[in-house]
């Protein structure tokens, strides 16, 4: 299990135990985090699993694919430099302690 912190727009922190091999989106959904909607179930179709990655943690993540990059243009909340789709973030031991911020809205 890998510990990941999700911070709601109001500042509330939720710590989830994420299964290695799954995605951050799956871990958040399993933990009942309502700020991740994930309408398409991780198929990179809906951009309702948008998160902002803590700046200091960005280098822990592999680069985003071209498809993810293009999908990020359709997020409901504003896209920033540190925007990612949580369904495309695969959980591995190197992500222990990762912190991400949830956007104001997902659709």
């Amino acid at each position: 299990m890998v510990k990941i912190t999700l911070v709601e727009p109001g500042g509330k922190q939720i710590i989830v135990d994420a299964k290695e091999g799954g995605s951050l989106m799956q871990a958040a959904v399993a933990a009942g985090v309502t700020g991740i909607v994930a309408e398409c179930g991780g198929s990179m179709m809906c951009a309702t699993c948008h998160v902002y990655v803590n700046e200091d943690d960005l280098e822990k993540l592999p680069k985003k694919s071209e498809g993810e990059d293009e999908m990020l243009d359709s997020t409901a909340s504003i896209r920033k430099e540190n925007s990612r789709l949580s369904c495309q973030i695969k959980i591995g031991p190197e992500l222990e302690g990762l912190k991400v911020y949830l956007p104001e809205s997902q659709y």
Partner: protein, 408 residues
């Protein structure tokens, strides 16, 4: 806002989303869900994609048990609703219980079409709709087997590419002159035929299967021109039929599905129908459609949750859909079936293609492979609801961002 109870028949994508959205919208009454499959609501799309390799059923669940408890959503699995008594506003369950509703939501989905051909009931003739089916396929299929898919629609082709990757010899038999003929443009069909052929899948079009060969186990198929093809496994992927019998038996109108108006109500004001089982007139094209997609099931569920909690709105969401085949992602926005003009942009070297669809000069949708940007921006253009013409595309040299900025 109604007081409840709201009763939902079917615990698939549409049923699940209805319950979840009712709570999001602040509905405090009772919610009862009945589904004839075992277990909690799960997602079907991965069944013909990642699930074959990964086999992790947990990852398919929309939400875990906790969510249903916390949100006071009463869900009963392995339970089939037998009939609807519209006078008493009750449903009858298979265990003899009756449950009263203030509002009833039919989210019964579809089932696979059975083929009226000899041998289709032999062992080793499989189909895919449910998690049960998908587990059965995982246990049965072995690398090196010869596999025949009867039907080259989305599910047939997705499964074909997954099994090919796994090491099976795959042949697809399609009755129409090209696969996915009813769903996508000719250019996209051609693109995928080429890609699948390159990966070693054989595709026969204009071919009908007249018989599944074999005594106890399927050993192959016979085509109507007499050709026989040997097989160790045969899949029937010949489309679906809506589960609308329970509605028609209760006197609700049906027409290739349970007929609903633009608020998604049946001809009984206390009964709605949504998702794969519902047919409705699509707002911008004016045609009667029954859509089989995650988008349609989820958006229709949200639409009725809003209505039941006091903010009725007509259903107008822009359809979107995807299919993953052999590492290639097809993304569709809008309805392209009625198009009278198609404009194709492709980058053959990188395996990218987009087909823009127009009807009477107006933009109606896009089909894009490995070009997410064209899908995303097109969807946004369609969601503005403003008419955009072919001439606008030409004037901007198909710069979709520029078009979007101009109209929003």
């Amino acid at each position: 806002m109604i007081e409840g109870p709201v009763v939902i028949i079917g615990t698939g994508q549409a049923g699940f989303q209805t319950a979840a959205s009712l709570r999001i919208e602040g509905f405090e009454g009772d919610i009862f869900m009945f589904g004839d499959e075992p277990g909690l609501p799960y997602q079907r799309p991965p069944l013909s994609k990642a699930f074959f390799k990964d086999g992790s059923a947990d990852r398919l669940l929309f939400r875990n048990q906790d969510f249903f408890e916390k949100n006071s959503i009463n869900i009963k699995d392995n339970c089939s609703v037998k009939s609807i008594d519209r006078q008493k506003k009750q449903v009858l369950l298979d265990d003899g219980d009756t449950i009263s509703y203030e509002h009833l939501v039919l989210a019964t989905g579809t089932r696979n079409r059975a083929l009226p051909i000899a041998g289709s009931d032999l062992k080793n003739v499989l189909a895919l709709r449910t998690l049960y089916d998908a587990n059965h396929i995982r246990k049965t299929a072995k690398a090196g087997q010869r596999v025949i898919m009867i039907g080259g629609g989305f599910i047939g082709l997705e499964l074909a590419s997954v099994l090919r990757e796994f090491g099976c010899e795959v042949t697809v038999i399609e009755a129409e002159k090209r696969p996915m003929a009813r769903a996508v443009s000719e250019q996209i069909s051609t693109y995928f035929v080429d890609a699948h052929t390159k990966s070693g899948i054989k595709i026969h079009c204009n071919s009908m299967v007249s018989k599944v060969l074999g005594e106890a186990e399927a050993e192959g198929v016979k085509l109507s021109d007499g050709t026989e093809i040997g097989a160790d496994l045969v899949f029937i992927c010949a489309g679906v039929v809506p589960n609308s019998e329970i509605a028609s038996e209760a006197g609700l109108e049906t027409s290739n599905g349970i007929l609903v108006d633009d608020l998604l109500l049946t001809n009984d004001p206390f009964i709605s129908a949504i998702g794969d089982c519902a047919s409705f007139v699509h707002k911008s094209s004016g045609t009667l459609v029954r859509l089989e997609s995650v988008q349609n099931a989820a958006d229709q569920a949200k639409c009725i949750a809003k209505r039941l909690t006091g903010t009725p709105k007509t259903y107008e969401a822009v359809p979107w859909f995807w299919s993953d085949q052999g590492g290639k992602k097809l993304q569709i926005a809008g309805l392209t079936g009625s198009a009278d003009k198609l404009i194709c942009h492709s980058d053959d070297e990188n395996g990218k293609i987009s087909v823009f669809a127009f009807e009477n000069g107006q933009f109606v949708g896009v089909e894009a492979v490995n070009m997410a940007k064209n899908y995303v921006i097109s969807r946004k253009i369609l969601e503005t609801g403003k008419p955009v013409m072919l001439s606008d595309f030409e004037a901007s040299d198909f710069d979709l961002m520029e078009i979007l900025k101009k109209i929003s």
